[in-house]
C-alpha cells in the first residue's frame, strides 16, 4: 500500500514537472518566421495559400454559395465585408505580384460587379443585419455609410491598380454623396444603421475620399482634417485615449473602445493622419494586446470599459478574456505598424487555435470563416496600396 502511494505521488510529481517543461515550449511548435505570414516584398507562403482558396471560391459558385450561406445565417454583414477585404487584398497583391495582376483584376471586377448588382437588386438591407429595419434612418433618403464607404474603397482600390472608365463615375458619385452628407450633418456623423454610426465605417469612407482625391485630382483634405479634429475632440474614450467604436448622430457614444474595431481604425487612419494612427495603435497594443507563453491575442475592451460579448467581439474566452474578433483584427494593426513581435505571436496563436486546413495549396482556418480569412489575407498583404497613394505614384 505504501509503495503504491509512493508510485502515485511519483507519477503526479512527474506530471507537474512535465507540464512545467512542456507548456512554456508549446508555442515553439506553432511559431514560424514572420516571413511565413508577411513579407516586405512579394507574397508570403500563407498569403498565397489563403488567396488560392479565396480565388477558388470566386471560380466555383456552388462552393461560394455554401460558404456565404453559413456566414449569412449569423450575420449578413460578413458576406459584404468578406468581399471588401478580398478586393482590398487583391489590390495589394497586384502591386506585390505584378505577374498575376490580370487574374487579380478580373476577380476584383467580378466581386465589385456582383456586389453592386446585389445592392441594386436586393436593396441595401441585403448586406445589413436585420435590426436595420427596426427603425427609420434619421437622415432621409436612407443610406448606410458601412456600404457606401466600403464600396467606394473597393472601386478606388481597383482603379488605383489600373484605370477602369466604367468605375470612375461610380466612385465619383458615391464619394460626392458621402461628402455632401458629411457636410450637411451637424456633427459630420453618418448612420450605418438607424441613428447608429461607426468609427470603422467613417475611417474607411474617409480613406475612399482620400483615394478619390489621389485618383481624380479632387481635394477634400480640409474635410478630412476637420473630421479627424472633431473625432479627437469628441469621440475619444477619456480613460484609454482610444477612439470609441459607435455613437449616435449627435455624437453620444453607444459603445466604448473595442478591439474588433480599433485595429482596423488605426490602419485606416494611417492613410489620413500617420501620427494619430500610430498613437491609436500604440494605445490599443497597450490596452488590448497580450502575449502569454509565446501566444499573442487581444481583448475586446480595455480594463476601463466593460462591455458585453456581441457579434463583432465573437465569444470571449474567460480567464484570459480573449476575443476572437479583436484577435483576428489585431493582425491588421500589427502588420500595418510593423509590430513584428506581436504579429509573430498572433500567427502562432492562429496556427495553434485557428485549426488550419490545407488542401492542394489552399489554406483556410476552420475556426474562422470567409470574412475572417479575407481579413487575415489583408493583414498578410497590406502596405503597397497605402504607400502608392501616400507617395502619389500614378496608377
Amino acid at each position: 500500500m505504501k509503495s503504491r502511494m509512493a508510485g502515485i505521488l511519483a507519477g503526479l510529481a512527474a506530471l507537474v514537472v512535465a507540464a512545467a517543461i512542456w507548456l512554456p515550449c508549446l508555442h515553439l511548435v506553432f511559431t514560424r518566421p514572420l516571413s511565413d505570414f508577411r513579407q516586405n516584398q512579394g507574397l508570403s507562403p500563407k498569403a498565397r495559400q489563403l488567396a488560392a482558396r479565396h480565388l477558388q471560391l470566386w471560380t466555383e459558385p456552388a462552393r461560394r454559395e455554401q460558404e456565404l450561406k453559413k456566414m449569412r445565417a449569423s450575420n449578413a454583414e460578413w458576406d459584404f465585408m468578406g468581399r471588401s477585404y478580398l478586393v482590398w487584398s487583391l489590390a495589394n497583391m497586384a502591386l506585390r505580384d505584378p505577374a498575376s495582376k490580370p487574374l487579380y483584376l478580373r476577380t476584383m471586377d467580378q466581386i465589385i460587379d456582383e456586389t453592386l448588382r446585389l445592392e441594386k437588386q436586393e436593396g441595401m438591407y441585403f448586406f445589413l443585419m436585420s435590426y436595420a429595419k427596426d427603425r427609420h434612418y434619421l437622415a432621409q433618403p436612407a443610406h448606410s455609410l458601412f456600404l457606401d464607404g466600403e464600396i467606394a474603397l473597393m472601386l478606388a482600390s481597383r482603379r488605383a491598380i489600373e484605370g477602369k472608365p466604367e468605375y470612375k463615375p461610380l466612385l465619383t458619385e458615391r464619394v460626392n454623396a458621402i461628402v455632401e452628407r458629411l457636410q450637411k450633418s451637424p456633427r459630420m456623423l453618418l448612420e450605418s444603421y438607424p441613428d447608429e454610426c461607426w468609427m470603422f465605417d467613417h475611417c474607411v469612407a474617409l480613406d475612399a475620399i482620400k483615394m478619390a482625391d489621389y485618383l481624380d485630382g479632387s481635394d477634400h483634405s480640409a474635410l478630412i482634417r476637420g473630421w479627424i479634429a472633431m473625432a479627437k475632440q469628441k469621440l475619444v474614450h477619456h480613460d484609454s485615449g482610444l477612439l470609441v467604436s459607435s455613437f449616435t448622430t449627435d455624437g453620444t457614444p453607444l459603445a466604448g473602445p473595442e478591439g474588433s474595431s480599433i485595429w482596423m481604425v488605426a490602419h485606416s487612419l494611417q492613410l489620413l493622419d500617420e501620427d494619430f494612427a500610430r498613437d491609436q495603435y500604440q494605445r490599443a497594443r497597450k490596452e488590448l494586446g497580450a502575449i502569454t507563453l509565446g501566444f499573442g491575442y487581444a481583448h475586446e475592451w480595455p480594463e476601463s470599459w466593460k462591455g458585453e460579448a456581441n457579434i463583432d467581439s465573437g465569444p470571449i474566452i474567460p480567464g484570459f478574456e480573449i476575443s476572437a474578433g479583436s484577435s483576428g483584427m489585431a493582425f491588421i494593426g500589427a502588420s500595418t505598424f510593423n509590430d513584428d513581435k506581436f504579429l509573430t505571436s498572433l500567427a502562432a496563436t492562429l496556427d495553434f487555435a485557428g485549426f488550419p486546413s490545407r488542401t492542394r495549396g489552399r489554406l483556410k482556418y476552420c475556426a474562422s470563416n470567409q470574412v475572417g480569412d479575407a481579413a487575415l489575407l489583408y493583414a498578410a498583404t497590406l502596405g503597397p496600396l497605402w504607400q502608392k497613394v501616400k507617395t502619389g505614384a500614378k496608377p
Binding site: G7, A10, G11, W22, K69, C366
Partner: protein, 112 residues
C-alpha cells in the same frame, strides 16, 4: 489468438495507476480518439468559435456539440499528450536511477 497477441504487447497490458506505462496508454488513447475525430471531419465544425454555424444542415446545437468534442480532443492531444509522454519518460529515468542506486548499495553491502 488475436487477444493473446495484444496481451503480449507490453503497452496494452493493464498498468498501475500513474505508472510510466499507464501514462503512455492514456497518451495513446487520447491520440487515437483525436485521430478518429479528425478523420471524421469534425475540424470543420470549429467555425462555431467565431459565431459561424459549422453546417447549415446539422444546425447550431449539433454543430456546437461536435465542435466541443473536437476542440477538447485537440487540446488534449497538443497539451496533455506531450505532458503524459514527458512524464512517462521522467518516471522511467527516475526509476532507472533509483534501481541503479539500489543495485550499487546492495553491491557495496555485499562487498563489505
Amino acid at each position: 489468438m488475436i487477444n493473446l497477441f495484444w496481451q503480449k504487447l507490453a503497452i496494452f497490458r493493464r498498468a498501475e495507476f500513474l505508472s510510466a506505462r499507464d501514462l503512455l496508454q492514456r497518451a495513446l488513447g487520447i491520440s487515437g480518439l483525436f485521430l478518429l475525430a479528425h478523420l471524421a471531419g469534425l475540424r470543420e465544425f470549429t467555425s462555431v468559435l467565431n459565431g459561424t454555424i459549422g453546417s447549415v444542415a446539422a444546425g447550431w446545437k449539433l454543430s456546437g456539440f461536435l465542435a466541443l468534442i473536437y476542440i477538447l480532443l485537440y487540446l488534449a492531444f497538443v497539451i496533455l499528450v506531450p505532458v503524459l509522454v514527458l512524464a512517462a519518460m521522467i518516471l522511467a529515468v527516475w526509476r532507472r536511477c533509483v534501481q541503479k542506486a539500489e543495485n550499487s548499495r546492495i553491491t557495496s553491502d555485499a562487498n563489505s
